[in-house]
Amino acid sequence: MLELSGIHKTFNIGTVNEKKALIDLNLKVNEGDFITVIGGNGAGKSTMLNVIAGVFPPEQGVITLDGVNVTKMAEHRRAGMIGRVFQDPMVGTAGNMNIEENLALANRRGKFRGLGWGVKKSEKEFFKEKLKMLDLNLEDRMGTKVGLLSGGQRQALTLLMATLIKPKVLLLDEHTAALDPKTASKVLSLTEEITSKENITTVMITHNMKDAIKYGNRLIMMMGGTIIYDVAGEEKKNLTVNDLLAKFEQSSGGEFANDRMLLG
């Protein structure tokens, strides 16, 4: 489905700030997988998702998505196949545009944009139906500017936009990290609901180990720009936070004391 092979990504090559963010990263995502990704700060999690989405190209390696080599494909071109939700609720939506305009933009992801109406009358019913699913009463506020919504509402809307046209893969980068715990769990269960209903292949970064264990069928742990642990199925279901911590300690040689991951 989605395959990363031999991916290397280095930032600021040839400067004092040179940073190897991904080192020989290999990952094969199967159709229908829901993978949770954990790892310490700077482990390369976001960089991996950005490389998949085409925000920047890797120096080395090949990315194939549904049999297509997308390694060099521009970000906006592969966007048709990829849904994304970001950590910052401001990033996923256009705050100056209203809810239906945002949805209409998402409804044209990967399609040709011409001089037809930006929001068609026939779409509005469809949007209403979809918004009802969120259970946030947004279906009655389709003309409201998204900038007026709360972070949680924006994140739920972004999730809806990312899946409005079924993506081949959904990339979630700590999409609940900026939300308060209650809203976060609401958005997480929405994520679960939408992805399982439509069987959407998903890669979700989280800093919460409990969530990482609770959600999805597969878990990967990253460190130093590569995957150090990849577990699926029953074995994954039976994981505990302590198992993960032990695994992490073992791989990092004990020097994890300050890491945020420990606390997740």
Binding site: A74, A79, F86, A94, G114, L115, W117, A177, G264
Partner: protein, 364 residues
């Protein structure tokens, strides 16, 4: 009578310059692209329309219909020329990754020579000025047609052109391409994630913007029967003044067409004020300084408001530079003084991390 005439000429100038202000609105407000090309492309529009009249002067002299015909061609070519200037700026920014402001300055600087070359085409030697008094313009030719005074003719034609421009843009920004353009200016990362080619959006937006600026330059040239290489100096600030005055008239929830009309109104008010300042005998050299001060004041009001309301803002955890490898974005940020905001974000970053750690710790 003098007062009324001052009103009328002020209104006319306001209408003609409003088209330029709408162009500035497209780049500055919709695309969020501080485009300085305008100062050059305004004169480019004037120069092209002027030279077309001059080169076709024998045909123009045949009669009012011929004159009007050539004038209309002049306006269209002026739009194309302005659009090309915008295209250059767009390509500099998107393909060569030159920061928006610098891209605009480079094009504007280049246009200075090009505009002189255009105005000198008839005598094959660069000129800084091109008079149309002998040749005639759209307005003088229309005057031969109609039994009303020049000012009223300008008024009628200007109203028609402005109405067409506003209508066209109202339609355009409701289309898929227009929506994508608005999204690009509002949130580039979101636009990209939704499959919008933000490069194309920016290029097209700049072409559109400067095409209208060129059209405005051509109309102003026709109105004053003269084009000059410096006619666009200060136009950005004049455009911003119109936009800001307009926004102060209709703040809050208004449909897009009302927003466009508010710019027209803003431009008219601005020009009427200037006309009266002239009438009062104030030296014209002072006007630009006055305008600049006015715009500075108006621009700083939202900032001050924001500073006050910024204090209890929700912490956001996202180091902006991190996910944004785009060089132009970074240059842009520096030029736009977003550097301060970035630092603020970093501060909240720490906050949030601690927060997150706390709540997470209790969860485990």
């Amino acid at each position: 009578m003098v007062i009324f005439q001052t009103f009328l000429t002020g209104t006319n100038q306001g209408l003609l310059w409003a088209i330029m202000a709408i162009g500035v609105y497209i780049s500055y407000r919709i695309l969020d692209f501080a485009d300085l090309t305008v100062e050059g492309s305004f004169a480019t529009g004037g120069a092209t329309a002027g030279i077309i009249m001059t080169l076709c002067k024998d045909f123009v002299a045949k009669g009012p219909a011929q004159g009007i015909f050539i004038s209309v061609i002049g306006l269209l070519v002026a739009m194309i020329a302005g659009g090309l200037a915008g295209l250059v700026t767009g390509l500099l920014n998107t393909k060569l990754k030159i920061a928006p402001i610098l891209s605009g300055i480079l094009t504007m600087t280049g246009l200075y020579s090009i505009n002189m070359i255009i105005m000198g085409l008839a005598i094959k030697k660069p000129m800084s000025n091109l008079g149309l008094g002998m040749v005639g313009t759209l307005f003088s030719k229309a005057e031969e047609f109609m039994p009303i005074s020049r000012n009223w003719i300008i008024f009628i034609i200007a109203v028609i052109v402005v109405a067409v421009v506003v209508g066209l843009l109202y339609w355009f920004f409701g289309t898929e391409v227009g929506s994508a353009m608005r999204a690009t200016g509002n949130n580039e990362r979101m636009a990209k994630a939704q499959g919008v080619s933000t490069q194309n959006s920016k290029i097209l937006g700049l072409v559109l913007s400067n095409a209208f600026v060129g059209l405005s330059g051509a109309l102003v040239t026709f109105q004053q029967s003269n084009a000059s290489v410096t006619m666009g100096v200060g136009s950005i600030v004049a455009g911003l003044a119109a936009i800001i005055i307009g926004e102060s008239i209709i703040s809050g929830k208004f449909p897009f067409w009302a927003r466009l009309l508010s710019i027209v109104l803003g431009s008219i008010i601005y020009r009427i004020i200037i006309s009266f300042i002239y009438l009062a005998g104030v030296n014209s050299e002072y006007i630009k300084l006055l305008t600049a001060i006015l715009v500075v004041l108006a621009l700083s009001i939202p900032l001050i408001k924001e500073k006050i309301s910024k204090m209890p803002r929700k912490p956001k955890k996202n180091a902006k530079g991190k996910d944004e490898p785009d060089d132009t974005a970074r240059q842009d940020a520096i030029v736009d003084e977003y550097v301060g905001e970035d630092e603020a974000r970093k501060d909240t970053d720490v906050l949030q991390t601690e927060d997150g750690a706390d709540s997470a710790a209790t969860e485990v």
